[in-house]
Amino acid sequence: SGVSHYFSAVPERDIVYWSVHTAGSGALSASTVPSLWCAAPMESPRSQAGLGIKASEANKNTNWLDSPAAWVYYVALLLLSWLLVSSFTDPGIAWTYVHIAHGVLTYIIFHWVKGSPIANDQGVYDSQTFWEQIDDGQQFTPARKFLTAVPVVLFLLASNGTDYRRQPLGVNLIVVIVLVIAKLASMHRVRILGINKY
């Protein structure tokens, strides 16, 4: 069977792409996971001169996120879960429940579980969380922007739904702050206090 790593039409982005395929390249080896105080140098998309060409993404664990259909599905899942929860409670507080449950689930899936379920990759991504694998580690791509916006929008809906009462606003705020910090570009490959390093 063959290995294909291309999925659907992706709009061209003005971001320079550096190869991550070479065996033992610095960005992928576990030894370069730094501590909190010296974050890994990040390739700024604007720092490279030239046309800024993005090569095809090869990571089959994550490249399905680049298609808009996946985003539609994600939003549809959230809406459906809100509808489900609203049938048991008041629709306003339902957003809070959805926001918190979504926060917990996506934290585990994006920022805790490491590696890739595809055996063919031979453990190349074993030290990287799902979030770090998206778009081969490039920052500020459309997929990342969308996924960062979702918890923020959910937070707004949740706070609006509870009329900005002190609680659950506090809980919602903590959840959204944790999620957004986890998705920041400067947290790429950072492990605070060495937690979840291996």
């Binding site: 790593h5 291309y6 190869s19 395929h21 030239g50 060409i53 095809s56 399905w64």
Partner: protein, 490 residues
């Protein structure tokens, strides 16, 4: 993509995502309970596999693993005997029940029909077997080169229009062992996004840098190449030593023919080398079977290394590279596959040699030309038939490989089992061999299929389409059904 579309509609995409989500949730539940209830076998040892790395295999592949790796008995000609197996039982291995099912073979890469006994090739193969034995028990460099090997390499080189050729015992290893010899440190390798895993393995093993360009897109290749040339090697920014572009003749998962003229133009402009993997196109494309160069009117002198395998059109096993004499001499001196891997077995060499002579007409008959035209006619007839039935069929006209899109992971197993029950052997491919939502059923047509076989198969495809609802081509497909090359009546 040729006569079909690779990306699903939004509705199909949402259904497929739902399927995968359910599979994921069920898989996680089962893993959770397995961890609680299983006993650790070796205390103090690190686990030999990471459980997440294996997640797809355990929780998705093994649910439907009766659809893959089906054992057969006897030669895989246009009809073959498939051994029936016990039903799926978690991750227990399947055992054969002893019953044999006679199936129409639409899964083997038997393009020219050499998989079964041939009146010209088989006697010669048996002669070589008695003369040289079954195995040479040596690598090529030590004691593994026979006159048959040399004869094959000479005739192959002249068939392909190159100065010299070199064979290898294994087709996969031809890419994975020969590419690193050329892709030394400082080399830039530009590889198509849908290249075969043998090319990916070869390029990963190489010390050169690889960049992946969008499938069959010479413009994207040119933009990537220009950026790479301007920026130089990563970190040190020195000029690249050389640039190699790796493409395939026919992409086996898409049935699509490469835009070779476009790539050759880019390669010539920037003085890059081209490595063309003709595993599926040699012997199957082109008026005289010389591959995509002939089919597309590109001179083989413009391609620097022509690589191919003998397991598809030639009915043997092994692979070859063909290039200028100095490149082949370099391979002979440096390539580990030539220096340390066992030589191609003499009967297989003779099979390829005889098949080659048959194809070129050197055996004195026109059977070769007849096979080639029969393959093309069969391929176009079947593709036209599938399109008329409303399937979403990928690939170009004249290509004997036809992936039929299924999109839904559950329909993959449904169609596979239904097809087997009806007596048709097709190969089904899903994630991760293909992108997530693009599961497909791949049909490979052979010159040995008769028109009756193809009509019978089309009837069964129609039936399965009704049962499993896989007519994703719609009216676009039906409109394309008659746009192919004219098919002569039987």
């Amino acid at each position: 993509m040729g006569t079909g579309t690779l990306a699903p509609s939004l509705k199909q995409a949402l259904f497929a995502y739902t399927s995968f989500t359910l599979l994921y949730i069920f898989g996680q539940f089962r893993d959770f309970f397995r961890k609680r209830w299983s006993k650790a076998s070796l205390k103090g040892y690190a686990p030999i596999r990471q459980d997440y790395e294996d997640f797809y295999t355990r929780r998705m592949y093994y649910r439907i693993h009766d659809c893959f790796n089906r054992p057969i008995t006897g030669p895989p000609s246009s009809w073959m005997d498939v051994l029936e197996r016990t039903p799926v039982n978690r991750q227990e291995p399947l055992t054969t029940t002893g019953k044999i099912k006679r199936c129409l073979n639409l899964g083997s890469y038997n393009y020219l029909g050499f998989a079964s006994s041939d009146p010209y090739c088989t006697p010669r193969v048996l002669d070589t077997l008695s003369q040289h034995g079954w195995s040479l028990c040596s690598n090529r460099a030590d004691a593994g080169t026979t006159p048959v090997h040399e004869e094959l390499e000479r005739e192959l080189a002249s068939f392909l229009g190159k100065e010299a050729a070199l064979t290898c015992g294994m087709g996969f290893a031809t890419n994975s062992a020969f590419l690193p010899v050329l892709a030394t440190p400082g080399t830039l390798v530009l590889s198509d996004a849908l290249n075969h895993s043998s090319i990916v393995a070869g390029v990963r093993a190489a010390k050169g840098t690889v960049r992946v360009f969008d499938h069959n897109d010479p413009e994207h290749l040119e933009r990537l190449l220009r950026t790479a040339l301007v920026e130089g090697q990563p970190r040190i920014h020195r000029p690249w030593r050389k640039v190699i572009i790796v493409v395939e003749g026919i992409y086996s998962m898409e049935g699509e023919v490469v835009d070779l003229a476009g790539f050759v133009a880019v390669a010539k402009k920037y003085k890059a080398y081209i490595w063309l993997d003709e595993a599926h196109s040699i012997g199957a494309m082109g008026a005289t079977g010389r591959g995509v160069c002939e089919h597309l009117g590109v001179s083989s002198a413009d391609i620097d290394v022509l690589m191919g395998t003998f397991s598809k059109s030639f009915g043997a096993c092994g692979g070859y590279v063909a290039a200028n004499k100095d490149v082949i001499d370099y391979f002979k001196a440096q390539c580990p596959a030539h220096l340390y891997a066992t030589a191609m077995t003499p009967p297989a060499v003779q099979m390829v040699l005889s098949a080659l002579r048959l194809i070129t007409g050197a055996d004195g008959s026109d059977r070769g030309a007849h096979k080639l035209s029969q393959l093309r006619t069969n391929a176009n007839y079947f593709r036209s038939g599938l399109l008329r039935l409303g399937f979403n069929v990928l690939g170009d006209w004249d290509s004997p490989v036809m992936p039929v899109m299924i999109f839904q992971p559950a329909k993959l197993s449904a169609t596979s089992r239904e097809m087997l029950r009806l007596g048709v052997a097709v190969v089904e491919v899903g994630f991760p061999a293909t992108p997530l939502l693009t599961s497909r059923m791949r049909v490979c047509i052979s010159a040995s299929h008769t028109r009756q076989d193809l009509d019978y198969a089309l009837q069964l495809f129609d039936y399965v389409a009704e049962r499993c609802d896989i007519r994703y081509g719609g009216d676009t497909a039906r409109a394309l059904a008659n746009t192919g090359p004219k098919i002569q009546a039987v």
